[in-house]
Amino acid sequence: MRGQEEEALLTDAYIDALLAAHAGAEPALAPPDLPADSLLRRTIEVLEAGLPRFHPSFLFEEALAARLRAAALGARPSSTHDPLAAELIHLPVAATGGLSVVAVDRRLLVGGAIASGVSLAGAAMLAWRRRERDRERPSLGGRRRWLA
């Protein structure tokens, strides 16, 4: 068990180092040693590069924001001059009828892509493909968490 805990520490340190490298930051501590198993290192690299973070659709995010604002307003006394409350009726996406007219970087949207019938792994695969495509276009640079 002790040996496994030590291996687990090395694994954790290597994950930390990879995450820090992709975030453009120096790791807090350099791993004292890499995991001895090259396959283990490779697997950590695959997981670090291959598990994307998904983003909800813009419409969903804004709708929930509006619900939270309404809930927040219900939790406080009303006032006659309330600039934040005015935001409640300003929902520009409500009248657009779809994501296609929202002028934002589509790479940062998940939209309804992960709807029923499209799997999480499939979306991850799409994210992977986009990442690979982006790798060939270094001008986009940086680490992107693709939103399928």
Partner: protein
């Protein structure tokens, strides 16, 4: 998530929650909760999506988590020992509990996602890429089969980029136990990638 600041009076390092100003502002005025929501909505949604594998369920869970967090914000107390004090940890604890309740209620069965992975054929020469499509597909096959705690720890570590200590606080396990969980999960994937035996 956590940052260090100097406590000048005592000349020692203390840790405090990076979200403390936003949390305190939201406690004073609930409308300020939106800043916390915007910061964490993708993380919570993503965690829920990995757990439920269903877009609509993930949205439902995300809604419940933030509505519960807003209503319970005054009960959130930063503890003396980070990362348990972290707002993010608290939020993910709500998410974990919400997901458990949803699972009990719905008993939803995940679809078979890996069949659909084939719908995205790679046209370029994947051998030239850092992470090959084949590796990713095989990794996914194992992740799908991992025991829930291992899969959860893996997602929190790699996707949410939480520390082992934070994950421990979310899952109710010790930091060391989380490291071992993650190590075992990674080894399971490694065995599948390399057909390696321990």
């Amino acid at each position: 998530m956590l940052r260090r600041g100097k406590e000048q009076a005592e000349g020692r390092l203390v840790q405090f929650d990076a979200d403390r100003p936003a949390v305190e502002a939201a406690k004073r005025d609930a409308r300020r909760f939106e800043a916390l929501y915007r910061k964490y909505v993708a993380q919570v949604y993503s965690f829920a999506l990995y757990e439920t594998r269903d877009h609509h369920s993930a949205q439902d869970v995300t809604s419940l988590v933030f509505l519960r967090a807003l209503s319970g914000l005054h009960g959130f107390r930063e503890q003396a020992q980070p990362p348990d004090s972290s707002f993010r940890v608290w939020l993910f604890q709500i998410a974990r509990n919400t997901l458990s309740n949803e699972r009990r209620r719905e008993r939803r069965h995940p679809e078979a996602p890996l069949d659909l992975a084939a719908h995205f054929p790679a046209k370029q020469d994947v051998e030239q890429t850092a992470v090959s499509r084949d590796e990713l597909v095989r990794a996914w096959q194992v992740i799908e089969e991992l025991p829930p705690d291992r899969r959860r720890a893996l997602v929190l570590r790699f996707v949410e980029e939480m520390s082992a200590a934070e994950i421990g606080a979310v899952l109710g396990r010790s930091e060391g136990a989380v490291r071992v969980l993650i190590h075992r999960a990674v080894r399971s994937v490694a065995q599948h990638l390399g057909h390696r035996s321990d």
